[in-house]
Symmetry: C3
Subunit: 261 residues, 3 copies
């Protein structure tokens, strides 16, 4: 897709989130900064209706409870019925048995179109040997590119593994995104924000593998531009929002740094 | 009222909120920046007691659940008994049936002194034809000034409709506030913050229509001053807090831009 | 301890929080800025497991519910079994009967190693005459240094009273920390952040009294450095994160300002 940002700003996709209580503000605010419209709603009485008027559904299990998981499944079913993209951010899978079980419950109950996590979260979901330290990735034994590709093929979906290099695969194509800056790891929430951004790009591009790749390139580029001006995580986070807001497709296209394999 | 900011900073009204999980931090932080004291507490076992020691009660249904609505009604009843101002931010009314019903339940159960929302939220509450897209206003058919005035008269309260122009009416007087800057719409939460600020001003001024008008003028002025220095939503949000904190009644009075009709 | 920051950055203690919904992001983000790893998880099905893989457990009753209190007790018991430090931030004790009861329930059910609060919160916990205005301290009759020391001795724990001067006592030693800046009180959340930082320092120093003293000195120093560049609470909060991130043990040691009594 040539101009994803322009498309987002024009069509303003409504991105329904059921997410965690730590980064919920930044999930909403980065969605808005990219030009999409965030909506957060998790009451079981309305969540499926809210999904029904939305363009994309993003779910994030960072501070999951059984009630939230039930609401996520209600909303994801509504999204499935409308053939609307569903993005799962599998935060903390591999840290506790409960998270592993709840993530499995989601994947068994509904169709998820894009599964995102860090290296150990995705490896664990894919059945590899992996432990997540809280919400922090640990090193995994398997080759991450192979894990992403095979898991994507097995589930017929797009798999996104975030880390120093981001890996995106739909089982056929595999992209390795090299945009980004280490300061992105110095603040809490960039992973969650990435899922919201992937959702925003998926709201305007039916090629979900490309949408995820573009989203991570663009976000990484904004991070690179912000880092140039920043003296630490405080200034970095502020400039990150400015750079996202002021980014153009033209500038982003000239800075994209990824490989297709 | 001549010096609302000075009054807030002197008497430090305690503004009890039961609000949403997206903007709860900014609701608290902007209340503090204006000089009032925020308190957030929603447990049914204590919420009415917390209202009982407060000056104003602000409720916001952004991420409502039935449990939160019950807590809001408990607290609003305690506020009603003390003749304390109650401010309702009707976030997302018009987006789902559940929101419409819960807002109606609040309005049927307790006295709300100031009802705030964007154009389509208030129009929907007032029985007009209106749909809210998530939490985003859509254009409404009716004349917003007329909607605000008639709804205020019908409910004997102050109605605040926020948008490019903010409309405040108590059924007799109608103010149109023109302060503000478009960057305020580039970040999530300025609407919720506005309700907290209206609550803070209502904590020192028994003329609630004037309090709401002053609150929106002052907030808009801080937004204008912040926008002058800002390169995007990141820098804007940071400077907004500085400008609120450093604002004086004298400076604000010289920049107020509103009409009375 | 000579180099607490270096130790935190090297060993990256995992700091499990069950905290409030207002400042949860800043609790996580300041933990990360100091070099530790935050994890927030409160579901009863997993919270004890999450504590089990952590280094420290921090609990904060700012927006308590009975469900959250139950989860806190589950996690604190897991922490007690592992002899892991437990830090309690007694937010709002003295404001409502429910808070007083829930804080007492925690202290009766589990071992808390560090109890933190403002002057009136700790005075109330210690059985003194004290009222908290929402979450704001009010002046107390008793000598705060004496309250801290005697309460610490009675409970065989470390007591931290935050205010213009921070008082830390284990019943034998009493430290009075004079680092800090008044702008720290201009933003919401510095108290909650302080508990997270104390937790991070407690994750690398078994002398918990010293850990708490060092944590408050270092945080206060970052506040002083940030204040030099700041024009208000917006810029201050941003620079605070930068200063924490860029602080070195060497610089901090040269600026520490405390008395031992």
């Amino acid at each position: 897709m040539k101009n994803p940002l322009e498309s987002i700003r024009e069509s303003k996709p409504l991105v329904h989130h059921i997410t965690n209580w730590v980064t919920i503000y930044d999930c909403a605010n980065i969605t808005r900064a990219f030009g999409a419209l965030p909506i957060m709603a998790h009451a079981p009485e309305e969540c499926a209706d809210m999904t029904g008027i939305s363009t994309v559904f993003v779910l994030n299990i960072g501070t999951l409870t059984t009630e939230l998981i039930d609401a996520m499944i209600l909303s994801a079913k509504a999204a499935n019925e409308k053939n609307m993209p569903v993005v799962l951010d599998a935060v903390g899978v591999g840290a506790t048995k409960f998270r592993d079980e709840m993530a499995a419950k989601i994947l068994d109950s509904v169709r998820v179109d894009i599964i995102k996590g860090n290296y150990s979260e995705i490896a664990k979901l894919a059945g590899e040997n992996a432990i997540t330290r809280g919400v922090e990735a640990t090193s995994i034994e398997a080759d991450p590119r192979k894990v992403a590709k095979e898991f994507a093929k097995a589930r017929s979906c797009v798999v996104v593994m975030t880390g120093a290099e981001d890996i995106i695969s739909d089982g056929e194509r595999t992209f390795v995104v090299k945009n980004g800056h280490e300061l992105m790891g110095s603040i809490v929430g960039t992973g969650c924000m990435a899922a919201s951004i992937i959702g925003s790009f998926a709201g305007v591009n039916s090629d979900l593998c490309e949408a995820a790749k573009d989203a991570l390139c663009y976000f990484g580029i904004a991070g690179q531009l912000a880092a140039e001006k920043s003296a630490g995580p405080g200034t970095f986070k502020m400039y990150l929002y400015d750079e996202v807001y002021n980014l153009s497709d033209e500038r982003a296209q000239s800075m994209m740094n990824f490989e297709e394999q």
